[in-house]
């Protein structure tokens, strides 16, 4: 305690210097005076009295110094001294400081930005109470190898909720988009269906009003709405009057009863909910077959808060115990006997969910980890540059070091001083870097957002990000500071005091570490260049891929009549009318409709039985399907290879017909002519549907994603597709930019029916958006590789320039003795070539060892692609050679007289 108290007082002693100094002087002054008076009384002369008093005190200044040491903390004091001195040195060299701080800020900023993204996507806990207690339930088949699936039906949820005894609370939720507009262009809100206990179990509080509770979630309810805080701010300006007012969702209105706490975005990382409704309100949306009693509508997720003291083994055992009862009570009646038997063998399992659920995480965890590695390497290269600069500066500071050594500073003290300077630099870099990172990570989030998926991430810096940045700053300082600090304090006093570089016996040795630093930079940047090259080439391959349809100039319009109060009988006629009117618009070449649009991520597939000699079965017989109107293939410019397109004679009552793609023809019919043959779709659990006649064959085109290969597809006329018609997508091929006809199209739809909701996109953008991962990787790795290349250029240029300066006299002598400029040039360039060859060789080794990690993210190219490697090495060598050539040529052109007179 006493020690601590003293320490704090001494810490305080670092401040208020002036008053303390004054008091110290006064105290010693009075001491001396009293002593002198005593001495005088004893008969000494005035001179003697003063001398004796001073001697007894042990010298006034040294006594004061001893006192001062006790007053403050000597270590702290030297640190402050070092910082002040360091800051002064950095101010004296504004050019060096600016370059170093900026380089560091870029490096540290990039690292912080990627890390903060990784943090918020992968590591951050959910914004709820005690997230570590939460688990998510999954269901799996009885065999150990089966993977758990996290989706459930409402009957299962009710069973789990009522039967479980391991959770202190359970909750369930499902997501759905709602249209806020009442007809016309759609404005979507992200809806969250929640069980009555949702907010209470999570421990989320209301920012205003109250949240949904168990009483709100009773069968037959009329529904209430809770807004997210950000939605309340954006749409109601945070007005208190929003409470009690009504919100329209898909043309149903609900009273707003409250607003959730500001930080709560929901449970899925990467999105945020706008409005939450209780489960019981689904009935209002579902109509005839409500999902609440539906036993094969898998729309919700279940979370539980584990009771304290329940081990994971107990949890697993209890869930296994209740599983048979839960599943026996909820068997789907429409499944066949084997299906039902298997269903009852299912087991409930659980997985920790403290960081939330996330599709975004699945999509971007790997790319983010790779980018983290990339920016890490960039920072290393930046460190190497600064270490090079420090080494060069060390040469110019030789005299300073020598003088300080000569007046008694220990080498440790000088090293400490130099490292403090490095820490100052890296701290400045880190502070600026944090600014860059804030801006960079926001930019990145925009970058990974698409038209359909607006990504939302909580990017506020938490302790983890700040700790990471601090750690990076320290590591950086050590990396670029230690070698130069040791080097530059190893001074030979005599030669340094003479102020001559030429007589420094170590001047060649001085250049050696710098050469290896630059070689290491070359090696690392080769790794980055190869990585960037691979991502770039994969991306280009995907963009220029033959996707089988023409994406340019196609306007897509998603329409929705189910929420518009339009009778289902009138749907087809309404769509046909819109179709007819749209095709008459100027600038419109053709119009068609389909259930799905290509590469939208939606799919419909079924097993198909073909009437061929040896028909496929099981997984191999899976066919991807779509329902389209006549003119679909013409609009997308998918060539019809045989047979005919659909036409108006294909009605609900006429012969059932289908058009298949080449892959279906090849796989299912083994290259026989499929025209006129029949396929039958496998319905629920093995039953076969009515035969469908194949009337045409079209060329293959991408169905779900650009990466897919050999998808067998079949198309049906919309008139014969069951369940189709409430929300078709219009595809409109235009002769002008799609945006030019947008308002005309919109007014045409409103002219037919103003309550139909519509949403626009273009096919080109949809295809683009499906490549967001690849684009992010290609762009960012390209950007960082470019940055690395620039850093290497600067590093090499600096190193060779420095070497030329060191050898100026030698080169002058050589020229004076008759060496041709060409041979001088060769002499210098030999160093460049050595650095390059060493760097590229090592870089190639590292690349070949590590690049396999990228394979799963590449498309149409092997990770060890030699062409990419060769190109990267060539680009790097060329750039590096130019950077080295400039100072080399300058050396060769120097006037020998000037070079010699330099001494």
């Amino acid at each position: 305690m006493r020690k601590l108290r003293a320490w704090f007082l001494r810490l305080g002693g670092l401040f208020g210097k002036e008053r303390q100094e004054r008091e110290l002087a006064e105290e010693f002054e009075s001491h001396l005076q009293m002593h002198i008076e005593d001495n005088l009384r004893r008969g000494m002369t005035a001179e003697e009295a003063r001398r004796d008093a001073l001697i007894k005190l042990g010298g006034l200044e040294s006594a004061k110094e001893r006192y001062r040491d006790r007053r403050g903390l000597p270590g702290m004091e030297t640190l402050l001294q070092d910082i002040r001195y360091g800051a002064r040195m950095l101010r004296k060299n504004p050019g060096f400081t600016a370059v170093a701080v900026l380089t560091l800020a870029l490096g540290i900023g990039a690292n912080t930005a990627i890390f903060s993204l990784l943090d918020s996507v992968v590591m951050r806990f959910l914004p709820v109470e005690k997230p570590e207690q939460l688990v998510q339930l999954t269901r799996r088949g009885p065999e150990p190898g089966h993977v758990g699936v996290p989706s459930f039906t409402n009957p299962i949820w009710e069973q789990v909720r009522d039967q479980q005894d391991v959770f202190s609370g359970t909750l369930a939720f499902g997501a759905q988009q709602f249209d806020l507009a009442q007809g016309g262009e759609a404005h979507y809100a992200k809806g969250l269906w929640v069980s009555g206990d949702f907010f209470r179990t999570l421990g989320v509080h209301a920012a205003a009003g109250r949240l949904i509770n168990v009483a709100d979630d009773q069968r037959g309810c009329s529904g209430v709405a809770v807004l997210s805080y950000s939605f309340w701010q954006d749409h109601f300006g945070g007005a208190a009057s929003a409470l009690g007012s009504a919100i329209s969702l898909d043309n149903h209105t609900y009273p707003i009863i409250g607003v959730a706490a500001p930080g709560f975005y929901g449970l899925e990382v990467g999105t945020k909910f706008d409005v939450a409704l209780p489960f019981c309100a689904t009935v209002i949306f579902d109509g005839a077959r409500p999902r609440l009693d539906h036993r094969s509508w898998w729309w919700l997720s279940i979370l539980g808060r584990v009771k304290p003291g329940i081990s994971s083994a107990q949890l697993r055992a209890r869930l296994e115990l209740i599983s048979p009862r839960v599943f026996a009570a909820t068997v789907p009646p429409n499944w066949d006997v084997t299906g039902q038997k298997n269903y009852q063998k299912w087991v409930l399992t659980s997985a920790p969910v403290s960081t939330g659920t996330s599709g975004l995480r699945r999509q971007f965890e790997r790319p983010l980890q790779i980018l983290m590695g990339v920016v890490g390497i960039v920072l290393l290269i930046a460190c190497a540059n600064i270490a090079g600069l420090m080494l060069a500066r060390a040469a110019t500071r030789q005299r300073e070091m020598a003088v300080r050594r000569a007046v008694g500073a220990s080498r440790q003290r000088l090293i400490r001083q130099l490292l403090t300077e490095c820490l100052l630099l890296s701290t400045a870099g880190a502070l600026l870097g944090i600014l860059f990172a804030r801006w960079g990570s926001t930019l990145l989030v925009h970058f990974i957002s698409t038209a359909r998926e607006q990504v939302y991430l909580d990017l506020s810096f938490d302790w983890r990000v700040l700790g990471f940045t601090a750690a990076i700053a320290i590591i950086t300082a050590v990396l670029f500071g230690v070698l130069p600090a040791f080097r530059s304090t190893r001074v030979s006093l005599t030669s340094a005091m003479k102020g001559s570089l030429a007589v420094d016996p170590e001047r060649h040795a001085r250049f050696r570490p710098r050469r290896w630093i630059v070689a290491a930079q070359v090696a690392l940047s080769l790794v980055l260049l190869v990585g960037a090259g691979l991502f770039l080439r994969s991306f280009v391959k995907l963009v220029t891929l033959d996707i089988g349809f023409d994406r340019a100039n196609v306007l897509m319009m998603h329409t929705e009549a189910r929420t518009a109060g339009l009778q289902p009988e009138k749907w087809m006629a309404t769509w046909d009318e819109i179709d007819r009117r749209l095709s008459l618009l100027p600038g419109v070449l053709s119009v068609s409709r389909s259930l799905f649009t290509p590469v939208s991520g939606y799919e419909w597939n079924q097993y198909v039985h073909a009437d061929s000699p040896n028909p496929l079965t099981g997984e191999a017989s899976l066919v991807y399907m779509n329902a389209v109107t006549p003119g679909y293939f013409r609009t997308l410019r998918i060539p019809l290879l045989a047979g005919r397109d659909f036409n108006v004679q294909d009605t609900a009552t006429s012969t059932k017909v289908a058009i298949v793609n080449q892959t279906t023809a090849r796989k299912h019919y083994h290259d026989m002519n499929p025209l006129g043959r029949y396929i039958r779709l496998e319905e629920d659990q093995g039953k076969l549907g009515a035969p469908i006649q194949i009337v045409g064959v079209v060329r293959d085109s991408k169905y779900e994603s650009l990466r897919e290969e050999d998808y067998a597809c079949a198309y049906f006329p919309v008139t014969q597709a069951p369940g189709f018609g409430g929300g078709p997508n219009f595809l409109i091929r235009t002769s002008v930019r799609p945006s030019a006809v947008l308002s005309l199209v919109q007014s045409t739809v409103v002219g037919v029916n103003k309550s139909i909701s519509i949403q626009f996109d273009t096919l080109a953008r949809q295809v683009d958006d499906s490549l967001v991962e690849e684009r992010v990787l290609a762009t960012l790795s390209g950007f960082f590789a470019g940055l690395a290349l620039l850093l290497v250029m600067v590093g090499l240029y600096g190193a060779i320039s420095y070497m030329v300066t060191l050898r100026q006299t030698e080169l002058g002598v050589r020229m004076a003795l008759g060496a041709a400029p060409g041979s001088i040039l060769r002499l210098v360039l030999r160093d460049v070539v050595i650095i390059l060859v060493a760097g590229v060789a090592v870089g190639t080794g590292i690349t070949l060892l590590s690049v396999q990690l990228l394979q799963s993210l590449l498309f149409g190219l092997a990770a060890r692609d030699m062409l990419t490697l060769a190109l990267a090495a060539a680009v790097l060598s060329l750039v590096a050679f130019i950077a080295g050539y400039i100072p080399a040529r300058r050396a060769a052109r120097v006037d020998p007289l000037v070079a010699l007179r330099y001494e």
């Binding site: 006493r2 020690k3 108290r5 003293a6 007082l9 001494r10 008091e23 006064e26 105290e27 010693f28 009075s30 001491h31 005076q33 009293m34 002593h35 008076e37 005593d38 007894k56 005190l57 042990g58 010298g59 040294s62 006594a63 001893r66 006192y67 040491d69 006790r70 007053r71």
Partner: protein
């Protein structure tokens, strides 16, 4: 400064506390003279080492200081014992007594045998 100085530092604190206990508030010069006199000039205090020792005791809260006037109207900094200082003095006296007793026991028999 070697081991001797450490002992000196420790005993110096004890002597300072003891001096303030007997004489009441006193300035640095007075404390130094008093220690010299008590030791009958066997200990010649380097006055310069006294002040850091005073500061240390003050930082530890055993003594307190304030400015006052000396006998001949000179401004001087006076030190006085605090309650914690008095307790510390008792502890130190006890400790010192034990230490000397132990050392004495080591020394006595040797003197006899030789």
């Amino acid at each position: 400064m070697g081991d001797k100085a450490d002992v000196w530092q420790g005993t110096l604190a004890l002597m300072v506390l003891r001096t303030l206990d007997t004489l009441g508030p006193l300035h640095g010069y007075g404390i130094a003279r008093r220690i010299e006199q008590t030791s009958e000039n066997l200990l010649s205090v380097n006055y310069g080492t006294l002040y850091p020792a005073l500061l240390k005791l003050e930082q530890e809260g055993y003594i307190a200081s304030e400015w006052g006037l000396s006998g001949n109207k000179r401004k001087a900094k006076y030190y006085k014992l605090t309650r914690a200082g008095r307790k510390q003095l008792e502890r130190e006296i006890q400790g010192w007594g034990q230490a000397t007793a132990i050392v004495a026991r080591f020394l006595t028999p040797k003197e006899q045998s030789s």
